[in-house]
């Protein structure tokens, strides 16, 4: 992150989040210590604090997040998120897969917004390769990213509603998300985990009739979002459950490296699309939505309005989508058109080489980051000159945002803990990866 003049002082926040001991927000307790509590008769629990385990298989912990909560009555004092139940070694796995196959792996991390991980992976690889992708590929990538932001935030609307007891909202959110996924299916052949954005461009062009599909989608969504407003935004019950719950200020958010809607909800306008434009985001108009209070309600409202902003971007993309190639025409990176395999020996050799040993990427290191629906998603890639990454590291926004939970939950009721987990919107596939 570049520090500008407006970057607020983080010293206070850092001191607060670093606090230790009984008054801190973070419960620093090992499994063994936790197990020993209560079994030892010589240390009676005289402070009336109770240790409560929530998860890993609790419906409102979004997958397999486990929280160790230290409770005093119904109030959460300290807490500790325990992660790793879904760890599958994807960063290590990336070292076994070629750069061509790599996207099939990374797309499975944040399964609610797969295009963003594919994009970050591709951008990092392209930096190392030092190639420029054709314009149409850039705009297709942008289109898919923004639609994915919509679908991901719709999923948030659904789960956030469900967590707070608005079960019909869950069904509406999934219903609208399905409409977006149906478009993805037409383009990539899959609803999720697409392997569509690849180093060098995108795998296939947009299908016939794509414009009509998107126009229909842009027509369908606004009235549905208005329904959400009636059902939730303006609801006194909804507001009471969320307003003032799980607050964080900018200092603390920065000290915790929180990004995305969590950071923006504190009033700090930080959006990589605007602040470090990638793809062609500097050619479209959109607003960065910020909150004021840094509470659950702000985070909800930011996401709802980001759906609207993304729709605005998609509209502009529809008008500006250029024609032309959609994969870099570099023989070493992109396989030849199918017909060339039969016509040219050289093309056949390239085809075989790319699909068996992959393409070689020059030695070096690169970091590429994108603004995913959850915050800054970065991929740091080291290549040793072979066709597989030497090391790939993911800066996952969900993983980093999970550490804000103890601070958001401090001194809140157990019932609000559910609202807070929901408003952080972690995707455990990416947290644990």
């Amino acid at each position: 992150m570049t520090i500008t003049d407006e970057t607020p002082e983080t010293v206070d926040g850092a001191a607060r989040v670093r606090q230790r001991g009984d008054d801190a927000a973070v419960l620093r307790l090992s499994e063994a210590q936790a197990a020993a509590i209560g079994t030892d008769a010589t240390t009676p629990d005289d402070d009336e604090r109770v240790l409560l385990n929530m998860g890993p298989s609790h419906p409102s912990t979004h997958g397999v997040l486990r929280l160790m909560l230290e409770m005093e009555g119904e109030t959460v004092i300290r807490s500790k998120p325990v992660v790793g139940y879904l760890h599958t070694g994807m960063e290590k796995q990336a070292e076994q897969l070629t750069f061509l196959q790599g996207c099939t792996n990374v797309t499975r991390m944040d399964y609610a917004s797969p295009f963003f991980t594919e994009l970050a992976f591709s951008l990092a690889t392209e930096k190392l390769l030092d190639i420029e992708v054709p314009e149409r590929a850039v705009w297709i990538r942008m289109l898919m990213s923004e639609l994915n932001r919509i679908s991901s935030h719709l999923l948030f609307m659904a789960t956030n509603g469900m967590d707070l007891g608005a079960v019909s909202m869950m069904i509406y959110g999934w219903r609208e998300r399905e409409e977006v996924l149906r478009f993805f299916e037409k383009v990539t052949g899959l609803r999720m985990n697409h392997n569509y954005i690849r180093p060098g461009g995108v795998a296939a062009d947009l299908p016939d009739g794509w414009k009509g599909e998107i126009e229909a989608l842009l027509e369908l969504l606004p009235p549905r979002l208005e329904e959400y407003d009636v059902l939730m935004t303006g609801q006194p019950i909804w507001r009471e459950r969320l307003q003032g719950v799980g607050t964080l200020n900018t200092d603390e958010a920065l000290a915790l490296s929180a990004t995305g809607p969590i950071l923006r909800s504190t009033g700090y306008a930080w959006d990589l699309r605007r602040d470090q434009p990638y793809l062609a985001y500097d050619e479209v108009d959109f607003d960065v939505i910020v909150g004021t209070y840094g509470d659950c309600y702000d985070r909800y409202a930011i996401r709802l309005n980001e759906i609207r902003e993304s729709m605005r971007i998609v509209e502009q993309i529809l008008d500006k989508m250029p024609l032309g190639d959609y994969r870099v025409q570099d023989k070493k990176v992109t396989p030849p058109p199918r017909i060339r395999i039969d016509q040219s020996m050289e093309a056949l050799i390239h085809h075989f080489k790319i699909f068996t040993e992959g393409f070689k990427v020059p030695e070096g290191e690169a970091y590429a980051c994108v603004e995913s629906p959850r915050g800054e998603l970065g991929i740091y890639m080291v290549s040793d000159g072979s066709s597989t990454p030497y090391r790939m590291h993911v800066r996952g926004p969900s993983f980093i945002n999970v550490q804000t939970m103890p601070h958001l939950m401090r001194e809140s009721l157990i019932a609000d803990a559910v609202a807070i987990i929901s408003s952080v919107d972690p995707i455990m596939g990416e947290v644990d990866r």
Binding site: L97, L100, Q101, T104, N105, P134, R136, A137, S168, R175, E178, R182, E185, K186, V187, T188, G189, L190, N193, N195, G200, G201, V202, A203, A204, D205, P207, D208, K211, E227, V230, L231, M232, G234, Q235, P236, I237, M321, P322, L323, G324, D325, Y326, R327, V328, Q329, T334, P335, P336, P337, R338, I339, R340, I341, Q343, L348, H351, F352, F355, T356
Partner: protein, 226 residues
């Protein structure tokens, strides 16, 4: 809450009672009127389903046993062994053919890189995604299951539930990816004919778009295969 605005929320849900349902009538075959099948959504043309092994219009198998598909598969779920063709009664045109061909569907992630890699369009994907196996060895599909029948259609396995026309859409992703990003090759047939269907149409590509808006299509729209 005296203004009753929370009642408006109930209004939204109440209205839904009278709206069309977005879901179809799918009950897994149970409780439906006799003879009425479960309702399914039409499948996208490019959908990645279970694979099929294609044959040429004359009935010859397309697979040449080159193992490119096995090499590119990120899940390492394809096993191929090639063998020399019998010159009297060849199985495929050319020297070799796929003698053993197996895909393990417990591992396959349906990324369809195998489809993109296959130089002869032998392996493509069908629209069938309903798998059912009760043991591990049944999850491994062999040539018996994958090879298209004499009519060029995928073989219908006992548990597979098809709808009209689905069995004819078996190469959407192969056709969509075959220009490899070069716009000059869009809308052009790049593949060999298939048993039962002959040459499949390409997608129209950007030419349709170029006609309806005056977008600046780059020059060189004529295709030179040289």
């Amino acid at each position: 809450m005296a203004d009753g605005s929370y009642l408006k929320g109930f209004g939204v849900t109440f209205k839904k009672l009278f709206e069309d349902r977005v879901t179809g009538d799918y009950r897994g075959g149970k409780g439906l009127e006799k003879g009425k099948p479960d309702e399914k959504r039409p499948k996208a043309d490019r959908l990645h389903g279970r694979h099929v092994l294609n044959r040429y219009e004359d009935g010859m198998e397309k697979c040449i046993g080159c193992e490119l598909c096995a090499g590119v598969c990120p899940a390492k779920c394809i096993y191929v062994r090639g063998a020399d063709n019998n010159p009297e009664a060849p199985t495929s045109p050319g020297e070799r053919f796929g003698y053993v061909y197996e895909i393990n569907y417990l591992r396959c992630i349906h990324c369809d890189l195998c489809v993109e890699a296959c130089p002869t369009q032998a392996i493509t994907e069908s629209k069938l995604f309903e798998f059912s196996f009760t043991n591990r060895s049944d999850a491994i599909y062999t040539k018996n299951e994958l090879l298209v029948g004499d009519d060029g259609k995928p073989q219908q396995l006992p548990w597979e539930d098809w709808r009209d026309g689905e069995d004819t859409m078996t190469s959407g992703w192969m056709r969509a990816t075959s220009p490899a990003g070069d716009h000059r090759y869009e809308g052009v047939v790049h593949w060999a004919g298939e048993l039962g269907y002959g040459l499949r149409d390409p997608e129209t590509g950007q030419s349709a778009e170029a006609n309806d808006d005056e977008g600046a299509r780059p020059a060189a729209s004529s295709v030179e295969h040289g």
